[in-house]
């Protein structure tokens, strides 16, 4: 939460409609996302009840478990779901594309990757648990399951693990994707309700966001997006229907009717959410894509290809717990990726960068002076080093010598030569916003400052000649932002190879050998 997004929420509350907090879209939306809406039975660890799934808004497929506590039926459900999910995943394993990798080694990668979209983070949790409960099963022996079931488990686990990486879009939760781009007029915890959040972003006609969200909270009209079902639904409708399906000694026709009643009831719980998720997809697609989005999706495609090849070559299911080295590596990777992802969004989106302008990690304003032809004659060769002066009202926290970058010219770096206070009466001062003259924000114990002037020395991104290529040097009057943020690639954390795990971390982990216990794990 930042002051800007908090302010946006206040504005939304006041205006009765959600306010944008991004100007571009920072999540990838596939042309053919696989939307998956799960429902689970209350009280169990992972007892699937029903799922509505499909890549085409007009044709959802419904899979229902009539006896959610029956083990055989659970695995039959998993097999049917596997049929759909694996077909979708496999459809992306087509013509490969050769890509040049960083470090020089070309690699093959699928042209595109599948994307799964669930309504909310609890849906991701469902996928993670379903993956866990199926990936160790065996297709032979005493508790045999359909061979597609463990394959489904491994893929679901892959998607769930990948969703933890900042910037990854292989598995998305609709509420999270929406909340990244819009601020509603309610609290963040209420944003977890997809219907309420969409009530703010896309209110029904004649309603304010607030009224739309309130209407969305009636579970009888708008069923919860799941996987949890509403308790009154469970008690009044679901329980009797499940009991009816479990009755023995009835004719086939009666049994069929019971099943179809159950399916109708569950479908009624799922269809509204199905509609909402597709609406969310539509709203996201309407936003222009951020610049660095494609590169992040490329990384996702790479991960997808790697995993598909790993499975093809007979790789074992993901272990239950990370080994010490894997855990440390994962943590390091998460930290680096989080920083890089945040920086990328800021560089792609002025509204996100604005957050950093409030904290002093970025500043912006008009160029008030420029020396585009300045040369640095100090060294052996003469180098083109233009100078520009930028005026800003933002609080400055950079020191001379700091190296900055501008989103407008990512290939160019700017070294701070000097920072000085500026009289507010000088021409070219920042345009006033009203009759009053705003003092600068006061941070910590710093004294109030008038608007500042920063002199920057530019290098790079201008071509090889000693005169800059046209447009590559800022001109007077141009409004620019500069920031300390970069999304440059950072060194891998150096970790010992698996087999060299130091004894302080338990020594080298044993090779994972699937064990009987994994396959026969009891289900309640």
């Amino acid at each position: 939460m930042s002051t800007l997004t908090a302010l946006a929420r206040a504005l939304a509350a006041e205006r009765g409609i959600a306010q944008p907090i991004c100007t571009v879209r920072h999540v990838h939306v596939s042309d053919r996302p696989l939307v998956l809406i799960p429902l689970a039975l209350a009280g169990e660890a992972n007892a699937p009840l029903a799922v509505m799934v499909g890549a085409d808004r007009q044709s959802p497929r419904l899979i229902v478990v009539h006896q959610p506590r029956n083990r055989d039926q659970r695995f039959a459900f998993a097999a049917r779901l596997a049929g759909i999910v694996l077909a979708h995943v496999d459809s992306y394993r087509t013509a490969a594309v050769v890509t040049p990798e960083v470090g020089g080694q070309p690699a093959e990668r699928d042209r595109d990757a599948p994307q799964i979209i669930v309504p909310n983070p609890a849906g991701i949790g469902f996928i993670r648990l379903l993956g866990r409960s199926t990936r160790f099963r065996r297709s032979t022996g005493e508790h045999a399951v359909d061979p597609v079931v463990p394959v489904l488990g491994r893929w679901l686990t892959f998607f769930a693990e990948r969703s933890e990486y900042p910037g990854s879009c292989l598995l998305l939760a609709a509420t999270e994707a929406l909340a990244l781009h819009w601020a509603s007029g309610q609290s963040p915890v209420e944003d977890l309700n997809l219907a309420a959040l969409l009530g703010w972003i896309d209110p029904p006609p004649e309603m304010t966001g607030y009224e739309g969200a309130i209407a969305a909270e009636d579970p009888v009209i708008w069923p919860p997006a799941g996987p949890a079902t509403d308790p009154t639904f469970d008690n009044e409708i679901l329980a009797p229907l499940i009991a009816a399906c479990g009755r023995s000694g009835v004719s086939d026709a009666v049994r069929e009717r019971s099943r179809s009643s159950l399916e109708t009831a569950l479908s009624a719980q799922l269809v509204p959410t199905w509609t909402l998720v597709w609406r969310a997809i539509e709203l996201l697609r309407a936003l222009p894509a951020a610049g660095r989005l494609a590169a992040r999706w490329d990384a996702d495609k790479g991960a997808f290809t790697s995993y598909a090849e790993f499975l093809r070559d007979g790789g074992p299911p993901q272990p239950r717990r990370d080994s010490a080295v894997a855990a440390a590596r994962r943590l390091n990777w998460l930290e680096r990726t989080q920083a890089s992802y945040a920086a990328q969004r800021a560089l792609d989106d002025p509204l996100v960068l604005a957050d950093y302008r409030l904290t002093g990690e970025a500043f912006g304003g008009p160029v008030t002076a420029a020396e585009p032809d300045r040369l640095d004659t100090a060294g052996k060769r003469r180098k083109l080093r233009p100078l520009i002066t930028l005026a800003t009202e933002d609080p400055i926290r950079v020191e001379p010598g700091a190296v900055l970058v501008s989103p407008a010219r990512p290939g160019q770096s700017a070294r701070v030569v000097s920072v000085s206070a500026r009289s507010p009466d000088l021409p070219g001062a920042a345009p006033g916003s009203g009759a009053w003259s705003p003092p600068n924000a006061v941070f910590g114990a710093e004294a109030s400052r008038p608007p500042a002037e920063v002199v920057l020395e530019l290098s790079g991104g201008m071509g090889r000649a000693l005169t800059a290529a046209p447009g590559s040097v800022p001109v007077v009057g141009e409004r620019l932002c500069y920031t300390t943020l970069t999304d440059s690639y950072q060194m891998h954390g150096l970790f010992p190879a698996r087999e060299e795990t130091p004894w302080t971390h338990g020594g080298p982990p044993p090779e994972y050998v699937p064990v009987d216990a994994d396959a026969v794990e009891e289900w309640s």
């Binding site: 039926q73 579970p219 009044e236 409708i237 023995s248 004719s251 086939d252 009717r257």
Partner: protein
């Protein structure tokens, strides 16, 4: 019907249980008539006649194919069979599990919940008319019926007493009985081994895995722990049994004290 369902749920949400009950009753009524109408429309009358004789559908748990109606005993006989094998008071779930492991025919534990009450009524109506009754086990301190346990009336009083150590002692006794039965039969049902494993997992040094489990080792381990509790438990039981015999009438000795009167009071209210 949808509107009625919505009404019920809204009523429950608002905490208005009375209205919810009304609407629910209406809903059940409409649902029933709807089902009947569909049935008349869709069912072949011949199908309806066959319904009773039709084999259970795949979603019901499969019973052993050999066990057909000929061998089915009444519920009280099945319970008596299982309890006799166990030799100690037991809860309905345990009784059902033992029965499934060793005897033909299904015994559903939910049918046992009213058994004790039915047996008491039968006894009071005609005392000792039947060769045995399924009765209660009495708590040692207050001689009241222990919750959720069934016993056999022909057992001596102190076998039907529950002192503080008796639940554990009875559990170990049951384990030994199951182990010994398993040794006796040549082709045990897989449920029987599973049942024994559930005991063995909770008895020290009885077995390290279901695969490696052997009934005699389990029985010995149970006996070893039993020896620790036996004397103290017997002392409690003997004392309580003699109090029961001197203070309680026949019905109370079987079904516990204090409850018969209050139940009568309730039924007249």
């Amino acid at each position: 019907m949808d509107k009625l369902r919505a009404d019920v749920r809204h009523a429950m949400i608002g905490g208005d249980r009375i209205r919810a009950k009304e609407k629910r009753a209406e809903l059940r009524d409409v649902e029933r008539r709807w089902d009947e109408a569909l049935a008349r429309l869709g069912d072949d009358p011949q199908q309806a006649a066959d319904a009773g004789a039709r084999a259970p559908s795949p979603s019901a748990a499969p019973s052993r194919p050999a066990a057909r109606s000929a061998v089915l005993l009444p519920v009280r006989e099945q319970v008596h069979q299982a309890l006799t094998l166990l030799g100690a008071p037991a809860a309905p779930r345990m009784i059902a599990a033992v029965h499934e492991a060793f005897y033909a025919g299904r015994l559903v534990s939910s049918r046992l919940t009213s058994l004790r009450r039915d047996e008491e009524r039968s006894f009071r109506a005609a005392p000792y008319a039947r060769p045995y009754y399924l009765c209660a086990a009495l708590t040692a301190d207050l001689l009241s019926p222990a919750r959720g346990l069934l016993a056999v009336s022909t057992w001596p009083m102190d076998r039907r007493i529950i002192g503080p150590l008796s639940p554990r002692v009875d559990y170990l006794t049951a384990a030994i009985a199951v182990a010994e039965q398993l040794e006796r039969i040549t082709d045990p049902d897989p449920n029987a081994r599973r049942l024994l494993w559930r005991f063995a997992a909770n008895i020290p040094r009885a077995a390290s895995s279901m695969r490696s489990m052997t009934p005699d080792v389990v029985a010995n381990a149970a006996r070893a722990e039993l020896a620790v509790h036996m004397d103290a438990d017997s002392a409690h039981r003997t004392a309580a049994a003699s109090r029961a015999r001197s203070q309680l009438d026949d019905a109370a000795q079987l079904f516990g004290s204090g409850l018969a009167l209050s139940r009568q009071a309730d039924s007249s209210a």
